[in-house]
């Protein structure tokens, strides 16, 4: 199933500045009904009509899954990014009518776990807002470790401390506070699952240490929202739809395909879920695979591409779309 075809008509019910970088957006259904149920860790893809261009960015739902009257997301402004977060900050106001996807969860809690150990970095806190709310309501056993640059950029840190007290531990970079990761991981009771969301360096560090310390891969969960990397423009022929398109410097291949009126499936738009996987029919050039979905062997085979994050450099590329 593609979330490209199941969408929700919403209205922005509130816009709340949280700190110098982060703004929170609240959405309600235009028809006044309840929004679909979701579970902690789910995201929605927000459609932004930016002039001629449609931007589609995934954001974690951060409200409690127990309250589906509204969805809330928090957007960190990225001045050097491709413009989606800037559009949200500059143009989206209360009362705006928007379209968002149904929620999709690629970072769900494993409810068989005896304990949930959560590690968040920066804006990576958002999925944990919903997950902690979900677990707290069920008396679930969790512990959250949250690193942020400064106290003022510790988005929702005060709220989390107030809600969950000592189950939340804060670390501030400007005070040289660092998670004692090896000690933390080695002191967890059997049956603990680990969840990490934050910058890719942090995810890599945590996953590597967990593996080295004997955490089975099934117990380690991470969420990686990689924005598509820019690159040199290139041309693509879409064999099924018979179109030839140009992928711009700041545009992803998926976005270019969508702009050409083709509606491919997608879920994460970050190279992890596998929904947009596309067969390569012919190519003359090199692939720049930025995804975490295909195996290294598949990358080398040049027979598949993940158009949400991957690019191409060369003379010609024909895809089965």
């Amino acid at each position: 199933m593609s979330t490209g075809t199941t969408k929700l008509d919403v209205v922005v019910s509130d816009v709340v500045p949280v700190n110098e970088l982060v703004t929170r957006f609240h959405f309600r259904r235009r028809d006044g009904q309840l929004l679909p149920t979701f579970s902690g860790g789910a995201h929605v893809v927000v459609e932004m009509r930016d002039g001629e261009r449609t931007r589609l960015n995934p954001y974690s739902l951060m409200g409690s899954p127990l309250d589906t009257r509204e969805y809330t997301i928090s957007v960190r402004r990225d001045d050097a990014g491709r413009g989606g977060s800037l559009f949200m900050h500059r143009h989206v106001r209360r009362g705006h009518e928007m379209v968002i996807s149904y929620p999709v969860n690629l970072f769900s809690l494993d409810l068989r776990a005896r304990k949930h150990l959560m590690l968040a970095g920066g804006i990576g806190i958002t999925p944990f807002m919903a997950q902690t709310a979900q677990l707290a309501a069920d008396g679930g056993n969790f512990e959250l470790h949250y690193t942020c640059r400064t106290a003022s950029l510790g988005t929702y840190a005060d709220l989390l401390r107030q809600r969950y007290e000592r189950r939340v531990r804060l670390y501030h970079d400007d005070r040289d506070e660092r998670i004692e990761l090896d000690r933390l991981l080695s002191s967890q009771p059997l049956g603990t699952h680990l969840y990490v969301c934050g910058p890719s360096g942090m995810i890599g560090w945590v996953c590597d240490r967990a593996a080295a310390l004997g955490w089975p891969a099934e117990t380690v969960h991470f969420e990686h929202f990689a924005a598509p990397q820019p690159g040199a423009p290139f041309d693509v022929t879409l064999a099924v739809s018979g179109k030839t398109i140009r992928v711009g410097e700041q545009q992803s291949l998926l976005e270019a395909i969508e702009a050409a009126g083709v509606d491919p499936p997608y879920l994460c738009r970050g190279g992890v879920c596998g929904q947009c996987e596309t067969n390569v029919i012919a190519h003359d050039g090199n692939f720049i695979h930025n995804d975490h979905w295909l195996s290294e062997e598949e990358h080398r085979s040049c027979k598949k591409i993940m158009p949400c994050v991957s690019r191409f450099e060369g003379r010609s590329l024909v895809l089965e779309r």
Partner: protein
């Protein structure tokens, strides 16, 4: 290794050293050989953090081979039942970083895995290797009694006496194969008994 037939029928692998802080082995009889084979591939000092729970069985073989690995702890028990409290206690006190390796008969692997699942370990993260007898632990689906060391097809339920077809249908929760009455329509019909799970 047993051939895969239906989805619930367990499939076993070959023990290999995993990264981890502690290593817990549970084995019976020839399962000890799976541990010594693993030792040949293990890095130096691997057994310094290892705890072996071993049920040698009647012949009492392989104990010396396990002692030679110099594990931090080596426990020998006469039966799995006698070793179970120790296994449960070890799991209850364990932290993430403990790796579990099970080797030997299906009954041993299944029951040790049952204890591990109760302690919160996911079955996919447990290393298993089948060695020795193919004897099965069978639950009679009629009286729910469990018969150990079933080697024949059909087999007689040691609780209610029904003649059971031993199926490949396996319950991880019970650590047992399912036995279903083979002559429910006509109890006077007695198919020949063959020894097939030796």
């Amino acid at each position: 290794m047993a051939a895969k037939s239906i989805i619930s029928r367990p499939v076993y692998g070959t023990l290999s050293p995993q990264p981890g802080k502690h290593h817990l082995f549970v084995a019976d009889a020839e399962g000890a050989l799976a541990i010594t084979d693993l030792a040949a591939k293990a890095p130096d000092g691997f057994f310094a953090d290892a705890h072996i729970i071993f049920i040698p069985g009647n012949e009492g073989q392989h104990v010396a081979a396990l002692e030679a690995l110099k594990p931090a702890q080596l426990y020998q028990g006469p039966t799995f039942a006698s070793a179970l409290p120790r296994l449960k206690q070890t799991l209850a006190n364990a932290h993430m970083g403990l790796r579990l390796y099970l080797a030997g008969t299906e009954g041993l692997i299944g029951q040790a895995m049952q204890a591990a699942l109760e302690a919160g370990i996911d079955h996919t993260s447990i290393q298993t290797e089948h060695r020795g007898s193919l004897a099965r632990r069978v639950q009679c689906v009629h009286c729910k009694g469990i018969t150990e060391n079933v080697t024949t097809q059909p087999a007689t339920c040691s609780h209610c006496g029904l003649l059971l077809l031993v199926r490949d249908h396996y319950s991880r929760r019970l650590a047992a194969f399912q036995g279903v009455c083979i002559n429910a329509e006509d109890r006077s019909e007695i198919p020949p008994t063959e020894e097939i799970f030796r």
